[in-house]
């Protein structure tokens, strides 16, 4: 880790100004990802601008009936918040499925969205990686990739996005708000992450120097019946090999509205819109769930050792939607 300057930002505009003044600067939130990557040599900032104490720590109802979540709200506070638990149970479940109690107490909402992939090649500076060092190649294509992407990847990078929270927020049509030197802006989460293409090192559509100030979750009555299911290689404290965020409105045995998003299958939380289209208005039955999953997964391009993820995601969709449908029928 090289030496660096450290400053605490007093307010949002001050934070943006501090970052803008130094091209080598990074925002420091909870540090759970950035400090880790600095120790690994993946990140080598010359200056840290600490934004953890900015007044962005509130969760407030919006006039429309949604929630506005400040960027420095910790994962723990987000998950424990009564209105989050009441309105968006899948969001609480997703956050609680991630990391550990200690890390959730540190990690912030803004930082969670910006966390980097857990691909083992990316995290190891002795190995090539197009995301870390463009043009060096992607050893995962022929190497270890059993937990890499099956959707939306390219021959330049097959890494996955590690967030659980982001998967639920994607299903909820959340909107990211940010501040730049030129003023505030916002990006729907659907447009927040860039396609991989041949620029895997460019991950988000945030303007340079932007500070995430919060996430707005629109009202979503469908989320009253919702679930986040995560599969991983140990029962807790591990990243997903596949996850599903689902919200489901079924009446008289027919799907009225559905939200579906997948985790650990792509470079970003993956909104399963093809599956949603296939499900809307059809009977809530297992074969329709499977067909909808297949519609989404038709685009999957598995690698040598991760074709199981296609099966896993199909089975997860069927299992989660079946559970939710059974609950609705009760």
């Amino acid at each position: 880790m090289k030496e660096f300057a450290y400053q605490r930002a007093e307010d949002v505009s001050g934070a943006v100004a501090l970052l803008g003044a130094d091209p080598d600067a990074r925002f420091l939130g909870g540090g759970t990802n950035l400090v880790d990557l600095m120790k690994s040599g993946v990140e080598r900032p010359g200056r840290l601008v600490d934004v953890r104490q900015l007044p962005l720590g509130a969760i407030e109802s919006t006039p429309e009936g949604g929630l506005r979540i400040g960027a420095t709200v910790t994962n723990s506070d987000l998950a424990a918040h009564p209105e989050v638990r009441r309105r968006y149970p899948l969001l609480t479940q997703a956050v609680l499925a991630g990391a550990s109690g200690q890390l959730r107490n540190m990690a912030t909402v803004g930082g969670n969205l910006l966390q980097r992939t857990r691909c083992g090649y990316f995290a190891d500076v002795t190995k090539p990686c197009n995301k870390r060092e463009p043009g060096t190649g992607c050893p995962a294509l022929e190497g270890e990739h059993h937990n890499h992407a099956i959707l939306g990847a390219s021959e330049h990078c097959v890494a996955t996005h590690p967030s659980d929270m982001g998967v639920a927020l994607t299903a909820l049509d959340a909107v990211v708000t940010y501040e730049t030197a030129d003023g505030p802006g916002e990006l729907p989460l659907a447009d927040f992450y860039l396609p991989v293409g041949d620029t895997p090192h460019r991950e988000t559509a945030l303007p340079p120097g932007a500070l995430i100030t919060g996430v707005t979750v629109p009202p979503a009555p469908v989320a009253a019946r919702s679930r986040y299911r995560k599969v991983r290689e140990r029962a807790s404290y591990a990243f997903a090999i596949g996850s599903v965020a689902a919200a489901f409105d079924v009446s008289d045995g027919v799907v009225r509205e559905v939200r579906l998003a997948f985790g650990a299958v792509a470079s970003r939380p993956w909104r399963a819109r093809a599956a949603e289209r296939a499900l809307t208005g059809v009977p809530a039955e297992a074969e329709n769930f499977a067909a909808a999953a297949d519609a989404e997964l038709a685009a999957a391009r598995p690698l040598r050792d991760n074709a199981y993820k296609v099966t896993l995601m199909r089975n997860l969709v069927v299992a989660v939607l079946t559970e939710l449908a059974e609950e609705a029928a009760r």
């Binding site: 880790m1 083992g120 090649y121 002795t126 599969v231 290689e233 140990r234 099966t311 299992a319």
Partner: protein, 712 residues
Amino acid sequence: MTTATTGRTTPKGVVGTAHTRVEGVEKVTGAARYAGEIPFADLAHGWLVLSTVARGRIISVEDGPVLAMPGVRAVLHHGNAPRLETHFQGVIGPPDPTTTLFQNDRVAHLGWPVALVVAETSEQAREAAESLLVHYEEEPHDVDFRGDRPEAYPVDGFAPGVVEKGDLEAELAASAHVVDVQYTTPEEHHSMMEPHAAAARWDGGRLEIVDSNQSTTWVQSDLAQMFSLEPSAVRVRSEHIGGGFGSKGVRVHQVAAVMAATVLQRPVRVVLTRRQMFPLTGYRSPTSQRVRLGADAEGRLRALEHRSVSQTSTVHTFVEPSAGVPRVMVDAPAHHTANLVVPLDVPTPTFMRAPGEAPGSFALESALDELAEKCGLDPIELRVRNEPARSPVSGQPFGARNLLACFHEGARRFGWADRDPRPGVRREGRWLLGTGVAGASFHAGAGPSTALATAEADGSFTVRISAADIGTGARTALTLVAADALRVPVDRVRVHIGDSDFGPAMFAGGSMGTRSWAWAVDAAAEELRERLALGATIPPEGITVRSDTTDAVRRLAQTERHSYGAQFAEVAVDTATGEVRVRRMLGIFAAGRIVNPLTARNQLVGGMIWGISMALHEEAVRDRASGGLYGGDLAGYHVATHADVPLVEADWVEDHDPDDPVGIKGVGEVGVVGAAAAIANAVRHATGVRHRHLPIRPDRVLMARETGATHA
């Protein structure tokens, strides 16, 4: 001056009763100091630099720019490091050249130690080490481990390479039921919580090392030879050790610290990072094991072949003797076992908790389960029918072999009698349920040890022995043993351990530590008590008695002594997601005399949980292109955590060996033996799919269902 007050009558002994750890308060308050935590004035920090190529030669080390960095005091590498003695017979054999640092320009694997940077602070040392440019001439590497590598050759390691009797092919041909299967286990890492750490300093012509190791006298002896010093000129201390599991012997960190302290003539501490531990501190080799079993119509074995291939480095040979398991567990007229090894451009593997037995028991105890199914027999009944009367290999009698008692007691408590043998028929929600069983054994050896017992003038007693408590509870056990031998209450006895100045003693390994040390402590304390019984008065410096069990160990009756166990597991498998959860485990063991039930149970249960971890999680993935590990850290290398571990119970049966003067057999390793097989057998029972390749990962479970395979 006081008069001796050891007990004159025999009180009820404390050995066999539960006792909390004597160092417990220190451990729960954070007061216990581990190796990297002992302060030294003027301490400098060393940081190792590891190779980024898997095979080749170092052309140059650009140390100039790094020496100019803030706080940097030295950069040691093959071009400037002190010369070491590299050819000697160490405590467990010749040194692994990985540990004789910086003696030539060769790189034998990715993560080979190429330099040490020493600086005033650890932050400075780290940045300087990461900035050091090392140029290599890279050569093509080969890390492709497979069981069918033609260059694999048999090796006599700490167990014989090849042991054969009978005509294997003829007996197989005459068998009514044959199992012929291949099992694999992956590369596994000890991953004890405390990274290897050592601080070295010269103090009045004597080298003092504070370390975390499994034997201070082993490290003392080998370092003395390496640095051409008299053993008496080297003192190694290691009081609290944050886990060892076979990895904490002589390693690069001690050598680096001594080298730097010698060059700089000031104290230097070297702590390995978690990521450095993966290539530098040993591991369990992957294994590929072929097991062939032939049985008659009643399930009695006629033929057994167990052939295990493991890997080693190109610089040192260590063989994982997995095929040793049937040499204890089952007999057959044709009985062929072989341990082979293939050298690759990989780090040297080493002893890891139940070396040989852990992977070997997975293969053998899975194969026996497969055979039982073919024979239409309950797997316990199959084992009853094949219980040998004498050692299949040596022909010697077994001392106290209570394996079947373990099976029977376990079956009773687990509810085995109600088991429906049909696979894949029990469902609870999304989970398929199944149960499995496996046997376990581990050698009960002993090593010579010395101990000092002192009657202090204040009426207390002090025992000194260079034992190592790596979490086993050995220090507490020895305190109980000493108290009983002295016939005094426990609170009058203090046991000091982990100091090479206390004299030679067995290392903490092979499940032999407590057995060996207790023998020496008992002998010294007994003799002290007898001396005091004569009415001795105690001078201010106390009265000290020294014991040495070397002759007694040699005289020990030539009997095959082992601890035994029966492992029972119930699992739940969601075949739609591939998730496997262990619901409960029960292990019943025959492990001789249990000194401290509280800590012994904990250790046995810990071993069983290692079995869960081995069965379901652990796998170090070697990246063929680079030759190094993919994800070599605790996020990439999964060990079981709380949520993976249900209520796991361990208990024991009466196990008395009248010919054994100690009676303690050791509980450090037998707990892991057979545990992974019991889980794999339970997964088979739950799902109908036989998993022959560990770990039983979700993708493997999932694809087996997808393809309709009956094995994976």
